[in-house]
Subunit: 293 residues, 2 copies
């Protein structure tokens, strides 16, 4: 894991210096897939409906569950498809010209392969997989939105001299300045799963609405899935809170959408989608994003 | 710990059946203080300014840090002062007629003695101390607000027939119905420390404002402290986010106040208190509560 740590630190450093380190990210994925293929076994952990979830194991280490049908376990296969995906980035159109499922499969594999390695061999570094997901999506979207400025903070207008500087901070912001010198853009909280943190993106959007008025900033929440390993009962759980999501969207603020690499079936049902747009990251990146901008 | 578990389960059951099990809570505190006095040692862990924080230890078990000057370690002393506090509850005046510091000391000891026992002897039950704090404060305030109905949910008006029932759920709600049949009252999120969950009370208040209009429900956040044990560096930390609190109060919603049994010094400084009321639980219960109602 020392090698993987080193690779990630280097990619993160480049990302923080406002680059989109796609080559470094490919190197990381290849390293993870090779390590998984050489040093682990896999087995089926459980189903959610017809979706099969498997886990990787090595010694005492067990990974989070992954959706077998979406995960590209072969390093060479993944490398080819990653390169094709990058080649299909259409910066003028603000989208990726690959199919929805292809985008989901490649990004799901890249993020999950990394998380799985940390689960098995460095489970104490609990925050690293989330940071990696942020770097991955920030870099891919940085290529797609190359005419935007990527940042993490939206400074709020200072009301008086005494006041301390205030800002809304989130995982990824893509912003531009309009002819009036006003900043506008896209706010992208990125979570592996949401749990009780689902409130944060709604609260942030509400604050931005309060400060800047509606229509200056739009939030899209991006997640991997809502899957959880249930070790005790040897199965998998999908934790959804449709009532809470509806409540927040109706009464707290309006998110432009919630997009998953592996969307929970529950959130695709009518009582949720009548209130809030929910879909796959693939669909967002190949069709919806240009409409939001 | 089997005995303490049993005592707590019984108190919780009575609380959930809409009672205020004050005798059972005293029994729990006595049990904890006796156990701590017989089976542990104590030592100073660190200071925050002039405030000394100590820990209890037993074998490999170490407790969260507690404020030495506020903690009543003697079982007999605590019992006498608890009984006096209960006798001083003034239900007509909606307050407790004890001094601010006396209220803080008794409630701080009751909540911390329980948490400390769980830290040392049952650290896997991570949620139990929070539940206990809820039962403790809900019972004490239930006696003070005996003309209110205690609940955990505020049902939202149903807009159409298709819609599922929706409600805002929090730790403690005290509600009444006015002459127009409208529910109003006090929403009381209770947290041991806030961390990233500080957003929740503001979000809930915002939803209540959106649904019911302003002035129907008021939120007060009650916490023990913002202290954290720093095992690695063998010291104590006080984690405060004054910028975030100011931001939420200004742009998300307005809390009636944040009250701590052990208030962090940082939150008592002018740049925070100019924006939001922060104080001790003792002050809230002996002076401020009647004004909020």
């Amino acid at each position: 894991m020392h090698e993987l740590d080193k690779l990630f630190k280097s990619a993160k450093k480049s990302y923080d210096a406002e680059n989109n380190p796609l080559d470094a990210l490919l190197k990381i994925s290849k390293h993870c897939l090779k390590k998984l293929s050489n040093e682990t076994t896999t087995r089926r952990q459980g189903n959610i409906g017809t979706k099969q979830y498997w886990v990787y194991e090595s010694g005492d280490g067990i990974s989070r569950p992954y959706l077998k049908s979406l995960f590209i376990s072969s390093e060479s296969n993944f490398t080819r498809r990653w390169k094709l995906l990058i080649a299909n980035i259409n910066a003028d159109g603000h989208k990726i010209d690959s199919t929805e499922n292809e985008i989901d499969a490649v990004l799901y594999t890249a993020s999950m392969a990394f998380s799985i390695c940390y689960d098995i061999w460095k489970s104490t570094s609990r925050k690293t997989p989330g940071t990696y997901l942020e770097v991955l999506l920030g870099s891919i979207m940085g290529k797609i939105l190359s005419d935007y400025q990527r940042t993490k903070h939206i400074p709020l207008p200072i009301e008086s001299q005494d006041e301390n500087d205030e800002s809304v901070s989130t995982d990824i912001v893509f912003e531009k300045t309009n002819d009036n010198g006003e900043i506008f853009g896209l706010v992208i909280p990125v979570k592996i799963t949401t749990r009780e943190r689902i409130v944060q993106p709604f609260a942030h959007q509400r604050i931005l609405d309060s400060v800047f008025g509606f229509n200056r900033f739009h939030s899209i929440l991006i997640c991997i899935s809502e899957m959880q390993l249930d070790k005790k009962n040897n199965k998998v759980n999908e934790i959804c809170v449709p009532g809470t999501v509806r409540l927040f969207q109706k009464y707290l603020s309006i998110l432009s959408g919630i997009y998953y690499l592996d969307p929970p079936t529950r959130y695709l049902q009518k009582d949720v989608t009548d209130i809030i747009k929910v879909g796959s990251v693939g669909k967002m990146l190949n069709a919806i994003l240009p409409e939001i901008l």
